[in-house]
């Protein structure tokens, strides 16, 4: 977030606060302490100022949080003429300042008439904790949670007592747990062995980042009992953390796998069902990605979310049409000659790449991610799932399901399967084989285009986008077994997961090499992939 927008929010917030302050008559704050704090803030020495900040916080005044925040954001000034504190933010409005105590608006003609209240690092640390303390009693649970996290590990003993009392009346479970962790962590340092032991037991299974180092410190404790207890607790926590680490790797693997499946599934149709080796498949993905870019950048630049959703059908149509043109002009003449098809489609891929370079530029383009797709879901301290990966997994499954239904439940699907199994027989039954070929190829190409929409959210869109996926796509299809959609799905996910699980040990590149070598060896054992086609269609 940009600093100005913080400042705007800040002013809005300040405005609302001042309204509330204006209407509320029951000011139970200790006015004297507050005034003393204000005085101290105007002093020269940092010690006095720190004390002033503490006093303001203690006073319980409604303005305290705002003042401390302004101090932290370097937006608290004093007028040179009569030494009153004012809020002033020259980024949003350089013509006026607001008095802290009275709330009056002062016109500012010359910036030099104001003097910033300076802070140093130590003081800023104190202020942050003070703000956190104030926020601990904020009605918004999100703010309370952030506040607990802020002071975690940096608390004084009197704060601990305050938190302890607060935690008992805390309604939100998550905040309550954090508060308890905070208390238990500080109790670990207690001189009373029983308190320490109780705290260790209380911390069982707690994956907070600060818990493990503190428990590790206790391993060398003088009391053997405490050391042993800390050890068991620590081991249990570590086990849990490793388990969630594996879950996270699995999630990464699933998301990589769904990318692979998306990229390969169009190929599974053109290669698997039709037997056409389409080396231009990667470029059809690229076309889908560029369609997304065009729609988002030229047609509706201000609506990244809507344009992304519109891109899905658009990419399907554009890539599908390109696919049909390729089929009608080139592939049609090469049926039954797979190696020649491979060369010709490779030529097409070069032409499409260069066309994109000439039209859009050889540089990578970035496609904006809509807001509802960025961010992540925090499951617990060590596991968080990024939303765009989740969306890709879901999208992959939806596309797969849709394709599956098209192939199994529609008349087009029936004809496609008939032609792929026995061309002559299908024609004898009245299926227009050449039309079905074009439609099938168009379907595969369109799916590739849809994959491009998804990929545009994960990587940069460039002329080489397709090339980097074509080999992987072929591997997925061949590994899964040609002509088998389920095989493609399973092989994509298993290759993705295998890749991600090897990465920590072997590194990203070596993991990929190992997967390739594995597939080369696997093909020797099972030349028709994981799930070979059975029956008559298998001979051809």
């Amino acid at each position: 977030m940009r600093p100005t927008s913080i400042a705007i929010r800040h002013w809005v917030f300040a405005f609302i606060l001042s309204l509330i302050a204006g209407f509320s008559t029951a000011v139970h704050a200790d006015e004297a302490i507050f005034q003393g704090g204000i005085e101290n803030l105007l002093a020269k020495s940092f010690n006095d100022k720190t004390q002033g900040a503490q006093q303001i916080a203690e006073s319980g005044d409604d303005r305290a949080e705002q003042i401390l925040k302004a101090l932290l954001d370097r937006q608290l000034f004093s007028t040179k003429s009569d030494k009153t504190l004012v809020f002033f933010d020259k980024d949003t409005d350089a013509t006026q300042a607001k008095q802290v105590v009275s709330g009056e608006i002062l016109p500012v003609t010359d910036v030099k008439s104001l003097q910033r209240i300076r802070t140093n690092n130590k003081m800023r640390g104190v202020i942050k904790r003070l703000i956190a303390n104030i926020q601990l009693s904020n009605p918004d649970p999100v703010k309370r949670l952030a506040a607990v996290k802020e002071i975690m590990g940096k608390v004084t003993s009197d704060q601990i007592d305050a938190v302890k009392t607060l935690s008992e009346s805390e309604p939100n479970a998550e905040v309550k747990r954090e508060m308890e962790t905070l208390v238990q962590l500080s109790e670990l340092q207690s001189s009373d062995e029983d308190v320490v032991k109780a705290a260790i037991i209380g911390l069982k299974g707690n994956m907070n980042q600060q818990v493990r180092p503190k428990l590790e410190d206790l391993l060398t404790s003088e009391s053997a009992e405490i050391a042993a207890s800390a050890k068991t607790t620590l081991e249990a926590i570590n086990k849990k953390v490793t388990w969630y680490g594996h879950l996270e790797t699995l999630f990464f693997g699933l998301s990589l796998g769904s990318v692979l499946v998306l990229a390969a599934i169009g190929l599974a149709i053109t290669f698997g069902v039709m037997g056409v080796i389409n080396m231009a498949h990667g470029e059809l993905i690229m076309i889908g990605a560029y369609t997304t870019y065009t729609i988002q950048h030229y047609i509706m630049p201000n609506y990244p979310g809507v344009s992304l959703i519109l891109s899905i059908p658009a990419a399907f149509v554009v890539a599908g049409l390109v696919g049909i043109i390729i089929e009608k002009t080139v592939i049609r003449h090469l049926y039954g000659r797979p190696l020649e098809t491979l060369l010709a489609t490779f030529g097409i891929s070069l032409i499409l790449q260069q066309a994109v370079r000439s039209i859009f530029s050889p540089l990578n383009r970035s496609v904006e991610t809509p807001e509802w797709m960025s961010g992540s879901i925090q499951i617990n301290e060590v596991l968080s799932l990024t939303l765009n990966r989740l969306y890709v997994i879901a999208f992959c499954l939806v596309v797969f399901a849709a394709l599956f239904i098209v192939l199994k439940k529609t008349s087009l699907g029936l004809q496609v399967r008939a032609v792929s199994q026995n061309r002559g027989m299908a024609r004898a039954m009245g299926v227009k084989a050449s039309k079905v070929d074009a439609m099938t190829f168009g379907l595969g190409a369109g799916i590739a285009g849809i994959a491009g929409v998804a990929l545009s959210q994960l990587t940069n869109v460039g002329p080489n986008l397709g090339q980097s996926y074509i080999i992987d796509s072929f591997m997925v299809v061949v590994f899964g077994g040609v002509g088998n959609l389920w095989g493609t799905l399973i092989s994509g996910f298993s290759l993705g997961i295998a890749n991600k699980f090897m990465e920590p040990y072997a590194g990203a590149v070596l993991a990929k090499i190992l997967v390739l070598v594995f597939i080369i060896l696997f093909i020797q054992k099972r030349p028709r992939g994981l799930f070979p086609q059975k029956g008559r269609a298998a001979d051809s």
Binding site: E340, A344, I348, S349, Q467, L510, L516, I523
Partner: protein
């Protein structure tokens, strides 16, 4: 030897042309003064030498594709491996003339803070050892790969795709610095070969002639294989693998022998290529290169040997010209060529010429 070429007019012409080039090019470069319009610059000589190595590479592809029916999309890997073996010898020859002046370690190893030369670099300071490795490394890789693939009867498209996976895996592997082959930058900055300065005109001419001789010998050996019983079985396998197997031939052994020989040939081409262009990097492993060289063969005419050599030279000449004059157009042209050749010239340029001959004869 000449009996073998009887009736092979294309081969006769190819050999005659290469012999002629090996005689005329040195003369035009070394003895015709630069002011004369007939003078050939050293740059052109190097370029021609490069084309000859490409022709040898195309020959090796045609041997397996045209006569055995194996469309290898990984022959660039054998070429690059031969090139790397040669490059390792040349790196040793730099000695202490590198940027860091380390007499034992190539520059990139000094840069990576290695303190001694890895075991697989041992022996490459000897020319004969490096030359054996030029043939041995691609040969062994092809043998192991082929032994696995042919024994389990991986054929057709599947074989093409796993050869592509092979070269892709090698590409990724050679990009890694830890592999000890210079990573991304590869091997370069060569100074001399067998004590001759690589920059001098005489050395360039020597390399050109060596490439010419290698091409002729390569052609003759391929022709010998094709004309032999082994070659006939190979053609039979290409046309109907199962029948040959049922007759009682060991199809996998025939394939393995020819595939390995072809890889060795590609390795030699790579070894001659590297000193002329002065660099070898992982880019040579890129699957695109391997597919491109299949197109040279297709353009020239598959299953003729001399057509492959012709296609390699023609396509590369066009590439040099177009990437220089109209860089934007090159990929369009190459892509269009792929499509055009497969659709309308299934037998390549040689096929067109033969048809013309028949028409005239009839």
């Amino acid at each position: 030897m000449f009996r073998m070429l009887r009736g092979d007019y294309g081969g006769q012409i190819l050999i005659a042309l290469v012999v002629l080039a090996c005689a005329i090019v040195p003369y035009l470069n070394l003895y015709v003064p630069p002011s004369s319009p007939f003078h050939l610059s050293t740059f052109t000589v190097t370029l021609l030498g490069k084309y000859l190595t490409y022709a040898l590479l195309a020959l090796s592809v045609d041997l397996v594709w045209g006569y055995l029916g194996i469309l290898s999309l990984g022959h660039g890997a054998f070429f690059a491996l031969g090139g790397y073996a040669m490059g390792m010898y040349l790196m040793h020859q730099i000695g202490d003339r590198g940027v860091y002046g380390n007499p034992d370690l190539p520059d990139f190893m000094v840069f990576l803070n290695w303190d001694q030369i890895p075991w697989f670099w041992q022996g490459f300071d000897m020319f004969w050892f490096a030359m054996i490795m030029v043939m041995f490394v691609p040969g062994v890789l092809a043998y192991v790969f082929g032994w696995l693939a042919f024994r389990s009867r991986v054929t057709g498209v599947y074989l093409s795709i796993i050869t592509q996976a092979l070269t892709y895996a090698l590409l990724l592997a050679f990009f890694r610095n830890e592999m000890g082959f210079g990573g991304n930058n590869g091997l370069t900055d060569f100074k001399d070969i067998l004590g001759f300065n690589l920059q001098s005109d005489e050395t360039r001419i020597g390399l050109f002639v060596a490439s010419g001789i290698a091409l002729i010998l390569g052609y003759l050996s391929c022709r010998a294989i094709v004309a032999s019983r082994l070659g006939r079985v190979a053609v039979a396998i290409r046309d109907s693998e199962d029948r040959v197997r049922f007759i009682g031939y060991r199809v996998d052994k025939v394939k393995l022998a020819i595939f390995t020989f072809s890889a060795v040939l590609a390795g030699i081409a790579g070894a001659l290529y590297v000193p002329q262009v002065g660099i070898i990097n992982p880019g040579e492993f890129s699957p695109l290169n391997s597919i491109e060289l299949v197109v040279w063969v297709a353009v020239g005419g598959r299953g003729t040997l001399y057509g492959a050599a012709l296609g390699a030279i023609l396509v590369n000449y066009a590439k040099t010209y177009l990437t220089g004059a109209l860089p934007e157009v090159w990929l369009f042209a190459l892509g269009g060529l792929f499509v055009f050749v497969t659709l309308y010239m299934p037998k390549g340029i040689v096929g067109l010429m033969r048809r013309r001959q028949k028409e005239i004869g009839a």
